[in-house]
Symmetry: C2
Subunit: 227 residues, 2 copies
Amino acid sequence: MATHTDKRYEEELADLRHRVLEMGGLVERQIADAIRALVTQDVGLADAVVLKDHDVNRLDVEIDELCIRLLALRQPAARDLRFITTALKITTDLERIGDRAASIAERAKELQTEPQLKPYVDIPRMAEIATRMLRESLDAFVRYDADLALAVCHEDDVVDKLNSQIFRELVSFMLEDPAVITRAMRVLFVSKYLERIADHATNISEMVVFMVKGKSIRHVSQLPASV
Amino acid sequence: MATHTDKRYEEELADLRHRVLEMGGLVERQIADAIRALVTQDVGLADAVVLKDHDVNRLDVEIDELCIRLLALRQPAARDLRFITTALKITTDLERIGDRAASIAERAKELQTEPQLKPYVDIPRMAEIATRMLRESLDAFVRYDADLALAVCHEDDVVDKLNSQIFRELVSFMLEDPAVITRAMRVLFVSKYLERIADHATNISEMVVFMVKGKSIRHVSQLPASV
């Protein structure tokens, strides 16, 4: 009887891991599609990204319900308890990443009527790094890998620097030709959204370090080299 | 013996409520101080807001630990369980609001070296509404008040409209005089941060509706008039 319960419990925990990764995979595709819609000026794809936000939201609710059920019925012990409470918090970040991808798609729709300011190079690069950070933060979560999580936190600097660089470049475009101000602002917002996505991946990673090590690395002036 | 345990448990739940409100009060003051630093060009106050972010972070960790302890030792039943898991999620939003207040303070520091574009009227008004939304969302949480939470969600529109209005006004300033572009962008970011703060208050309220009614109102195309 106990074995039966244990097996069921293990399955539920595996299901939780699986669903968090599924939600991560979904928002990862949302980011990729939103950037592709921007670069190829594909309004249909941009619309699809906005619509798909619904699936992300459904998974958010389902995962929360699964966590609450596990907490109510299984009375999980220390390690599992921290895993489940971290999952509860991570879904919020994943859901917000989905929102930001939808916002990129909205800007892509606005921008498609106008000629490009210049070919998009830094924006897709930023998207690539932010997406990798997201994937690694969730890998770190399901594997209890605090070192990988810490590595993600260190990567956030690269994205912040790219964002500042794009900001300066766009401001110089605006100064040269005020006619491009609105267009440049929209691109600037896309850059900001990507920076926020990287922030969310960093937040997830910080939660993973806390889950594994019981140590908060949030808001420290200097990130540790190892945990 | 059971009575003793029950009393201790009730005290712990009251402590949790108290600390969430304390954290809310702290970030509320952070927003007010950041806006005051902006309007009065007070660099010392802006620095204080950035430093105080540490206290917000400490409370975030403490509340999470309290929630995990309650879940581990008290095996709370349905209503309390949902209250505790919601508290776990709310702290993340409160912590991010603190981050945004610190970002406003950073922009205030950058802006204090330059003359004001125009007197700040809409920004303080936006801050006032966002702060009220935050306070009401937490009141709704501790009182299980789904109606109040829904009212907060409806207010988000007002803040979004103010943000769009500020955006248009600042872009027109930039078009008239490219020399103010950098300054206008900084004010625009402050407006964006306030809009994000109102979003976080809305997120908290959506979680409260879900906690009380077991019904998700996220991402619905039309908010219900009542829940």
